[in-house]
C-alpha cells in the first residue's frame, strides 16, 4: 500500500577536513567567491565572519545563492547522483536539485569556512516504511501494475523534506 509522496534531502557538509577532490573543489571555489562577494555587505571590512556580516546586514543572506554560482559546475559533474547516499544495492540515489548553503566563513581564516550542499530528490512514492528502511518508487505508481522499487536506510543528514499522504481511496 502506498503511503505517501515524499522528497528526500541529503545534506553534505563540507569543511577544511573534507577529503575528496570534489569536496575540496567546492570548498576552495566557494571560499574564493566568499572573499569576493562578501565585500558588498562588509564595505569597510569591519566584520570577519559570515555570521557577523549577516547580523549587520541581512542582505548578506543572498551570499547563499551568490556563492552557488562558483560551484555549480562541479555539482553538474555529479550527473544528478548523490555523492554519498546509496540504496541498499549500492546504487547512488538520484537528486533533482542541489542547493548550496554557506554555513560559516571568515575573511582571514579559510579553516573556518564551512558549506553544505543539500541534494533533494524528485517526488518519490514511499511504498512502505520498515523500521529505519524506506521502500521507495520513482515514477508513476497507480497500484495496478508491479512497480520498480528501491530501498534506502535513514541515516544522519538524510531527511524527508516534503510529505504528502496519499488518501486511502486512492490506494485501492
Amino acid at each position: 500500500m502506498y503511503k505517501a509522496k515524499v522528497k528526500l534531502v541529503y545534506k553534505q557538509v563540507i569543511d577544511e577536513a573534507s577529503p575528496s577532490g570534489f569536496e575540496k573543489a567546492i570548498f576552495h571555489a566557494s571560499y574564493q567567491e566568499f572573499l569576493l562577494k562578501s565585500q558588498a555587505y562588509n564595505r569597510d571590512g569591519k566584520f570577519k565572519t559570515f555570521s557577523k556580516i549577516k547580523a549587520n546586514d541581512g542582505r548578506a543572506n543572498s551570499l547563499h545563492y551568490k556563492l552557488s554560482f562558483s560551484v555549480l559546475h562541479f555539482i553538474a559533474q555529479l550527473d544528478n547522483k548523490m555523492p554519498v547516499v546509496r540504496d541498499n544495492l549500492g546504487n547512488k540515489v538520484a537528486f533533482d536539485v542541489a542547493r548550496f548553503e554557506l554555513i560559516e566563513s571568515h575573511v582571514d581564516d579559510i579553516t573556518v569556512h564551512k558549506v553544505a550542499i543539500n541534494y533533494e530528490t524528485e517526488v518519490l512514492t514511499m511504498v512502505e516504511l520498515m523500521g529505519e528502511y524506506l521502500l521507495l518508487s520513482a515514477g508513476n505508481v497507480d497500484g495496478m501494475e508491479p512497480v520498480s522499487t528501491f530501498m534506502v536506510r535513514m541515516q544522519p543528514n538524510l531527511a524527508v523534506s516534503s510529505y504528502q499522504e496519499i488518501p486511502l481511496q486512492q490506494m485501492i
Binding site: R43, Y65, F69, V97, Q155
Partner: protein, 251 residues
C-alpha cells in the same frame, strides 16, 4: 553504514598513500643515483649528489574546473548559454579612473547579471512573475565576468533584459580590482528602446515595463545618477543592439 564504509576506504587510502610515495622516491633516486646508493637513498641524498632531486609533492589545488581548465566557466563573453532567447545585446564596457585623467584601467574584473526576457534570474527559487512562481536553482545563465583588456574594455554577449514587477529594466554590475570590490552598480536602459523591445515577439507576453526609470526605487532618487547610469544603445529590434557604458572609478 555507507558513510562509515566510505570513511574506512579513505582511511585505508590514507595509510597506503605515503607507502606508495616512498616507493616512488626510492625508484626515482635509484634510476639517477650511483649504484652504491640505490638501497638507502632518500631525496635528501639524491639532492646531495647534484644529479637530481625528487620534486616535492604539494597540495593539488587550486582544483581545476570541469575539463581541467583553470578558468572559471563563468569567465565568459557569451552569458546566454544558448538557452536564453531575446533581442541580442552586445555590451562594451570601459573602466576608467576618474582620479587619473580618466585613463583606462586594465585587469578590472567586471561581473554582470540580469534577468531573462520573462523577468527571472538564474540561481534561486521562489520568484514570482509573468510565468508564475519559478525556481531556477542550479542554473547560471545571464551571469558572467570578464577582465578589462589593455584598452580598459570588457565585452559581453547577452540578450536585452526583460523586467519584473517593481523594478525598471536594468543590468547589475560589480567591479573588482585585485580581488577588492571597487563598485557595485546597475546600468539603466533608455525607455524608448526598452518599450520597443518589450512589445516585440519574444517579450510581448509581458509587455511594457510598468516601472519607469524616474519612479524606480534605485534609479529614481537622482536624475543625475540616472543619466550617469544609462547605457548608450544603437541598433534595432530586428538586428539587435550594441550597448556601451563607461564605468568611472575614483581609484
Amino acid at each position: 553504514m555507507e558513510r562509515k564504509n566510505f570513511l574506512k576506504t579513505f582511511a585505508l587510502a590514507a595509510v597506503t598513500g605515503p607507502m606508495i610515495i616512498d616507493s616512488c622516491k626510492k625508484e626515482s633516486v635509484s634510476q639517477s643515483g650511483t649504484s652504491t646508493t640505490t638501497t638507502t637513498s632518500t631525496s635528501t641524498t639524491a639532492s646531495a649528489t647534484g644529479t637530481c632531486v625528487v620534486t616535492p609533492t604539494e597540495e593539488e589545488g587550486p582544483y581545476p574546473y570541469p575539463g581541467g581548465e583553470i578558468t572559471d566557466p563563468l569567465s565568459r563573453v557569451d552569458v546566454t548559454e544558448s538557452t536564453q532567447t531575446g533581442v541580442p545585446l552586445s555590451l562594451t564596457l570601459v573602466v576608467v579612473n576618474t582620479n587619473d585623467n580618466c585613463n583606462v584601467v586594465e585587469n578590472a574584473r567586471i561581473d554582470i547579471w540580469h534577468c531573462n526576457k520573462d523577468g527571472y534570474y538564474s540561481g534561486y527559487a521562489g520568484q514570482p512573475g509573468v510565468l508564475g512562481n519559478k525556481s531556477y536553482v542550479g542554473e547560471t545563465w545571464l551571469r558572467g565576468y570578464q577582465l578589462t583588456d589593455a584598452t580598459g574594455i570588457a565585452k559581453f554577449t547577452t540578450i536585452y533584459p526583460g523586467w519584473y514587477g517593481g523594478r525598471a529594466t536594468h543590468i547589475h554590475i560589480e567591479i573588482f580590482i585585485n580581488s577588492v570590490l571597487k563598485k557595485t552598480g546597475q546600468m539603466a536602459f533608455p525607455e524608448t528602446i526598452s518599450d520597443l523591445v518589450h512589445v516585440s515577439t519574444l517579450y510581448a507576453a509581458h509587455g511594457i515595463n510598468t516601472t519607469r526609470n524616474a519612479s524606480d526605487s534605485v534609479f529614481g532618487d537622482s536624475a543625475t545618477d540616472l543619466a550617469n547610469e544609462m547605457l548608450s544603445l544603437t541598433g534595432s529590434v530586428a538586428a539587435g543592439y550594441a550597448g556601451t557604458y563607461t564605468i568611472g572609478l575614483a581609484l
